[in-house]
């Protein structure tokens, strides 16, 4: 089996502190730690379980982002992925979900053979859940979204349990197939100590450049020649034969017209303390005006 796992490095919007916004209303990205999108970890786990069951399976990580997003490939390899590609180019910047899907689909075409593409249902920085189905459409693949568990693979058919409104559904689908996985699916296994040892020096091109830019030599330079898997490959628009017009801002049919910092219409609140008599008075009032009871 050949599996491609789609993963994204995202700002940790779940832990947005008060310093997450600058005074001018723009986002202070520096204040938000970059993390592995949680549901993409659930997706990786499903891929790893297939690899457990079918030795010889290869797992390729694919991500799009700035140079530091090579971290996603590394984290994947620490858990059992075999390799990965970072799609990175200024021309990808400002992409909406459709332009993102186009770029990813071109990279997948470049990777070539695969049986499954697995990604998280959605990323926490946008919550759109659109990239998975759009990649599937661009590649002409069927899709199974909201997957909870891959149950069985037999005779090139795959059986998947998925969440639906108020229930569950078990479906059988042909391969190749694109699957998106829910956050309620099995948690991803932790990093494997041996794999961390093996891949800890793996670096992307831009990460290496960042280290050597001040004239510093790259530590363990010879390792990168001796162990090719330590070089995380980066692909540009040209590398994946993408049409630059369909990438980034120009390839995005949706445009952000305005962004507003929200100021609540403040009500005149009545402030009380937690003293017995004040709570009692409030409850009495709520009962008397039939709000409760």
């Amino acid at each position: 089996m050949r599996i491609i796992v789609l993963a994204k490095q995202v700002p940790d919007t779940r832990n947005v502190g008060k310093d997450a916004m600058k005074e001018d209303g723009t986002i202070n990205r520096g204040a938000l730690p970059a993390i592995f999108n949680p549901e993409d970890l659930n997706a990786l786990e499903q891929a790893l379980r297939i690899k457990d069951k079918f030795p010889g399976t290869t797992i390729t990580m694919l991500t799009m982002g700035p140079g530091r997003a090579a971290e996603i490939i590394r984290e994947g390899m620490f858990r059992g992925a075999d390799n990965g590609y970072l799609l990175t180019d200024r021309a990808f910047a400002g992409a909406d979900t459709l332009a993102t899907s186009y770029a990813l689909s071109m990279a997948i075409r470049k990777i070539g053979d695969f049986d499954l593409i697995i990604g998280g249902r959605q990323a926490i920085d946008g919550d759109t859940a659109q990239v998975g189905p759009q990649v599937a459409e661009k590649l002409g693949l069927p899709q199974v979204t909201y997957a909870e568990e891959i149950m069985k693979i037999e005779n090139s058919k795959i059986t998947i349990r998925r969440g639906i409104a108020g229930g569950v559904e078990t479906v059988e689908a042909p391969m190749p197939l694109l699957i998106t996985v829910n956050g309620s699916a099995a948690e991803c296994r932790p990093r494997n100590a041996k794999l961390v040892q093996k891949y800890k020096r793996a670096l992307g091109v831009q990460e290496k450049a960042e280290i050597t830019k001040a004239g510093q030599p790259l530590p363990y330079e010879d390792d990168y020649k001796q162990y090719p898997y330590l070089n995380i490959e980066e692909w540009s628009v040209a590398d994946v034969d993408a049409d630059v017009v369909q990438c980034g801002l120009s390839g995005s049919p949706t445009k952000v017209k305005t962004i507003q910092n929200i100021v609540f219409q403040a009500k005149e609140s009545k402030v009380i303390s937690s003293a017995d008599d004040e709570i009692d008075d409030l409850m009495k009032e709520l009962i008397e005006n039939h709000t409760i009871g």
């Binding site: 409104a165 078990t170 949706t254 929200i262 709520l286």
Partner: protein, 339 residues
């Protein structure tokens, strides 16, 4: 041509509330756009479905009836919508931000190269001036949604691509009858012209749908807890108060993510939208995404030991105190003084 389309979801022969809500919103948007409201129903045994949608002011209902089209699977419904839209050239398409809408919408938008905005909390019609290109667009669909952790609200537009697509969660828009005697024109389509046999590649082996365990959306009193509740055990207090008041318990996304309560109790942009007569917010700071799902509550009480919690600004009553202190006192008073 160039009308506003709503994809209607049907479960057990009934059009879902989220679709009726979108028809209601769609009717008023269509009036502003000066176009017709069209609905699409795809499934099986759809005879009479027009009676369910007509009162919402649907001008044309497109029916696609085939045994294989229910329950929903991705490719057949996608092919129908894509081929219908190529023919009808809608300017706007609305879908529920449901498991189905979020499976179908992106695929349709990818195929038609039209923009799609997920989980909108408001839809409006307005103009847009593109100074760089020296172009002015009239009557665009403003797709409004909180973004980026809920600190900002973004207005998204699709100036050049059609249809302009948006998904909206259940309960965000209000469902209102437009005209009980409205006449809907029904167009029955030949399914075989829109779907090929090759689209039926995913087989549903088993399907279980249970009635919802609670009625959060319809409850007149909602007691909601946030991350500040601190633990699952503290949520038990909210359930005790809810039992006394015949209320339902809701939660913020942070509380759900922390595992304090089940996901189906999440209130906010990516959860349920509620409009109760009383909303008691316990240990909730008040991110925009949460506020979006409860701001229309008739009365809001905030229990918080942080006097600067943003939610306090929209509360009618602010109780400065810890949940552990305040909730048991409320329960105690109510037990003693209610009949």
């Amino acid at each position: 041509m160039n009308n506003l389309f709503v994809y209607c979801e049907i479960e057990d022969g009934a059009v879902l509330d989220v679709s009726l809500e979108l028809l209601t919103k769609g009717k008023s948007l269509a009036a502003q756009l000066g176009c017709k409201l069209e609905a699409v129903a795809i499934g099986h045994n759809l005879d009479g479905i027009e009676r369910q949608v007509a009162p919402y002011g649907v001008d044309i209902l497109h029916l696609f009836d085939d045994k294989r089209l229910y329950p929903y699977t991705s490719l057949p419904h996608t092919s129908i919508i894509i081929n219908l839209f190529k023919q009808e050239q809608p300017q706007v398409c609305l879908m529920g931000a449901t498991v189905i809408g979020r499976d179908l919408g992106p695929r349709v938008s990818s195929s038609l190269f039209s923009g799609l905005t997920a989980d909108c909390t408001a839809l409006e019609i307005g103009s847009h001036e593109d100074r760089k290109a020296g172009k002015t667009y009239e009557k665009l669909l403003y797709q409004i949604r909180p973004a980026f952790g809920g600190n900002i609200v973004a207005t998204i537009i699709n100036p050049d691509n059609r249809p302009q697509m948006a998904t909206v969660r259940e309960g965000v828009m209000k469902k209102e009858i437009f005209d009980a005697a409205y006449k809907t024109e029904v167009v029955k389509h030949d399914v075989a012209k829109y779907v090929s046999d090759a689209d039926f590649v995913v087989n549903i082996i088993e399907r279980h749908v249970e009635k919802a365990k609670h009625n959060l959306k319809g409850s007149p009193i909602v007691i909601a807890g946030g991350y500040g509740m601190g633990s699952k055990e503290n949520f038990d207090m909210l359930f005790s108060l809810a039992k006394e008041l015949h209320a339902e318990v809701g939660a913020t996304r942070a509380a759900v993510d922390a595992g304090f309560v089940d996901h189906d109790r999440q209130i906010g942009q990516t959860g349920v939208t509620v409009r109760p007569k009383l909303y008691i917010a316990c240990g909730i700071s008040g991110q925009i995404q949460h506020i979006a799902g409860m701001q229309d509550s008739a009365m809001i009480i905030s229990v918080n030991n942080d006097p600067d919690a943003p939610i306090n600004a929209i509360a009618d009553y602010v109780i400065n105190g810890t949940v552990e202190e305040v909730i048991p006192k409320m329960i105690k008073y109510y037990k003693k003084n209610s009949k």
